[in-house]
Symmetry: C2
Subunit: 449 residues, 2 copies
Amino acid sequence: MKIEMTVDIKKLIDLKQFKVLKELISEQSVPYIVEILEELEAEEKIVVFRLLPKDIAAVVFTELEIDDQKKLLALFKEEKLKEIIINMEPDDRVEIFEELPANVVKNLLNYLSPQERDQTLILLNYPQDSAGRIMTPDFFDLKEDLTVSEALKNIRTYGNEKETIYTLFIINHNRKLEGVIELKDLIFADDDKLIKDIMNKEFVYVKAYENEEEVAKIMKDYDLLALPVTDSEKRLIGIITIDDIVDIIEDSVTEDIQKMAGMGVTDTSYLHTSTWKLIKSRVIWLIMLLLLESTAAFIIDGYSHVLQKVTILAAFIPTINAMGGNAGSQMSAIIIRSIALGELEFKDMKRVFFKELLIGSIMGVILSIVMGFRAFVNTQNPMIILSLSISLIIVVIVSNLLGAILPFIAKKLKLDPALISGPLISTLMDVISMTVYFSVALSLLKDFI
Amino acid sequence: MKIEMTVDIKKLIDLKQFKVLKELISEQSVPYIVEILEELEAEEKIVVFRLLPKDIAAVVFTELEIDDQKKLLALFKEEKLKEIIINMEPDDRVEIFEELPANVVKNLLNYLSPQERDQTLILLNYPQDSAGRIMTPDFFDLKEDLTVSEALKNIRTYGNEKETIYTLFIINHNRKLEGVIELKDLIFADDDKLIKDIMNKEFVYVKAYENEEEVAKIMKDYDLLALPVTDSEKRLIGIITIDDIVDIIEDSVTEDIQKMAGMGVTDTSYLHTSTWKLIKSRVIWLIMLLLLESTAAFIIDGYSHVLQKVTILAAFIPTINAMGGNAGSQMSAIIIRSIALGELEFKDMKRVFFKELLIGSIMGVILSIVMGFRAFVNTQNPMIILSLSISLIIVVIVSNLLGAILPFIAKKLKLDPALISGPLISTLMDVISMTVYFSVALSLLKDFI
C-alpha cells in the first residue's frame, strides 16, 4: 500500500535540506514539478531548479510560463544556462528565443553547436504562427528501398533521439518527401517487404509558411500524430507533433475569447500578466467603445423635447439597448465560432442571412410580446407600449443580422472574425437602437408632443 | 507530375456512372469524402455511401454530423446498416447510440455479437461526458513476466485489431493495472529484459466516472497519446486516445463560448442545427435577460422628476450602461477562460480581487477623464460632467469586480463559470449603474431640481 505525505518545500529550502529535496523532487512528474515551481518565489525556484536532473530540467523549463523563464534565465549561472539550452528540443528552444531580447538570444546561440545554431536560426526565420516556427527538425527518415526488417533495425539503432518514431518519413536522394509510414504498419508487415511497397504515397503535408491554425485543423481532421512540413520544393524540413497542436488549439481559443470580449490579446496566463499589460490590453478598447457609444448621446439629446413630455421613454432605454446587444452578441458568437471551426465559409453567408432573418423575426415577435406585458406594469398608455414592442422587433432583427453578417465580412477583409465582439456589436447597436426607438416613438406619440 | 481535375459528383450520380464514381471516391481520404458527402442531398449521400469500401464506410459514417447520421440510418437497407454498425469502433458506436431513440438502439444492438453488445451496454451506462463514455475497450495488454522480444512478438501477432499499440498496458491476474509502457521504450530496450523491469509503475490513470474535460487536461499536461481508465478497484476497463481529446477540447470550448454569449448549448454545428432549436437555445435566455434588465426601468422611472429638469442625463444612460457591461464582460471572459484552463482556482480569488480592484480603479480614472472631455461637447454644466465622471469610475470598478468574482462563486457552487456571461453581467450592471448614476446626479445637482 502507498502511504502519502505532504512536505513543505519552502521549509526544506529554508533548512537547506537540499539532498532530501533532490531525492523527493526527482520522483515527481514534470507537470507536478511545474505546478510546485509556479508557487515558489524566484530565488526558491532557482534552488529547486538546480536540484533537477539535466534532462528533466530542460523539459520543466520548457513548460514554464514565459515570464518565469525570463526571470530564471536572468538568475542562472552561465554553466546552468548552457546546460538548459543544449538539452531543450529545437522547437521549444525557438519558442523561447522568439520571446527574448535579441542580445540575450545572441549570447544563448553561442552555447549551441554550429549545426544546432543554423537549425535554430532557420526556424526563427519563419513568420510567427507559421508551421515553420512550431516544427521540429528531429524526424526519422527512411530510404524507400529498405526492407521492413532493415527499417526496424535502423529505428532501434538510431531512433532514440528523435521526437517521434511512430510516424516515419521516406525521402529520396534530393530530400524530397516520397511517402509516410506509421510504425504500426511496419510492425504488422512481413519482414522482407520493401518500404516503398507499403508506404503511404497519398500523404498529407503542409508548407512551412502555412498558418498554425490551419495545421491544427488538418491534424485534427486526419487524426494524425505527426504532420510533415516541406519547403516549396516538397523537401522535408520538419514535422509537427500532436502534443504541440493541443497547445495551439487552446492558445488560439484563448485569443478568440479575448477578442470576442472586446479586448486585446494578452499572450500569457492571467496571473503571469502584469497589471500594466492587462490595463493596456483592455483600456484602449474601452476608450474606443466609449467614444463610439457616446454617439447615442447626440441622438437622445436630439429628442429631448420628446423626453421632457414622455419621460417614461427614458426608463426603457436600457432595455431596448440591452436586447439589441444581447441578440447580436449571441449571433456573432455562434458565427465566429463556426468560422473558426471551418464549419462556415464566406459562401454560406447568404444562407445564414435568410436563416437568421427568420430566426430574428420569430425571436423579435416573442420578445416584443413579453416586452408589452412587462411595459404595462410601468405605463398603461397603449401607444407607448406599442412603441416599445415595435422598436424591440426591429432592434432584434437588425442586431441579429449584424451579428450574423459582420464576422463574414471581417473574414472576407482578412480580419479576424473574432474582432466582431459582443461589446462592439452592442455598441454599434445602441446607436441604431436609439434611432429606431425615438423615431418609432415620435411617429406613434406625435399627438402627445 | 500530378495532373489534377475537378469532377462533378452530382453529374456522375445523375448519369449513373457508379463504377467510375466508386473508383474515384475510393482514392480519396476520409476527411475529403466527409466534406463531399456534406454537400450532397440525402439521396445522393446514400448513393455515394453504398460505393464506399466496408471499413472506410464505417469511419466516414463516424465522422458525419449526428443529424446526417440519423438521416442515413433511416435510409439504409438492413444489410448496410448491420455492416456499418459492426465495423465501427466501440467508442464511436456508443457516441451515436446515445443520440438515437431507444427503440432504434434496441434494433441496432441485435446486429452485434453478444460480447460486443455487452461491451456497448456497459459503455452506455456511464454518465454523459464521463471518461467511461469516451473510452474504448480495445486496448492491448501485456503480462509483466514477458521478455521484450516476447512482448513485441505478441504485439505483431495480436495487436492489429487494437485502437493503439503505441501505449501498452500491463495488468495482473486480477486485471488490475500494474504498469504502462510505450511501444517506443520496448523498441529501444534489450530483447531479453523483462517487461516488469522496464514498465512505468508511476503512471497516470483516471476512474471511469471522471469528467471528460478533466481527462483532456491530464492528457495535455502529461503529453499522453493514450490514458488508461480503471474501475474503482483499479482494474483496467478501457483507454482514451489523443484523437478523441482534440474533439472534446473543441466541443467544450464551443459550449463555453455559447454560454459566455448568454445562450443555451446547441450541441450540433450551426448549419446542422434546426431553426427551431436555435431559437429555443437563444430566446429563453433573452426573455430572462429582458425581465432582469427591465428592473432598471423602475429605477429610472423613480427619477423622472430629475430627468424632466435635466433631460441631458438621459442622453448618457447608454454610455454609462455600456461601459459597465464592457468592463464586466472583458473581466468575466478572462476569469472564465483561466478557470477552464486550470490556471485559476478558487484559492486565487482573493489575489484576483485585489489585482482587479487596482486595475478597475486605474481604468475607471482613465475612462472618466475621457468621459469628461466627451461630455463637454454636449453640456458645459460642470456638475453634470462631474456626475458622469464619478458615476463612470464607480461603475467600472464595480463591474470589473463583479466580472472577476462571480465566475469563482459559480465554480464554488458547482455551476459552470461560463454561465456568468457578458450579457448577464451587462444586465446586472445596468441595474446597478442606473442606481449609481441617478444617486450621484441627484446629490450633485440638487440645486437645479
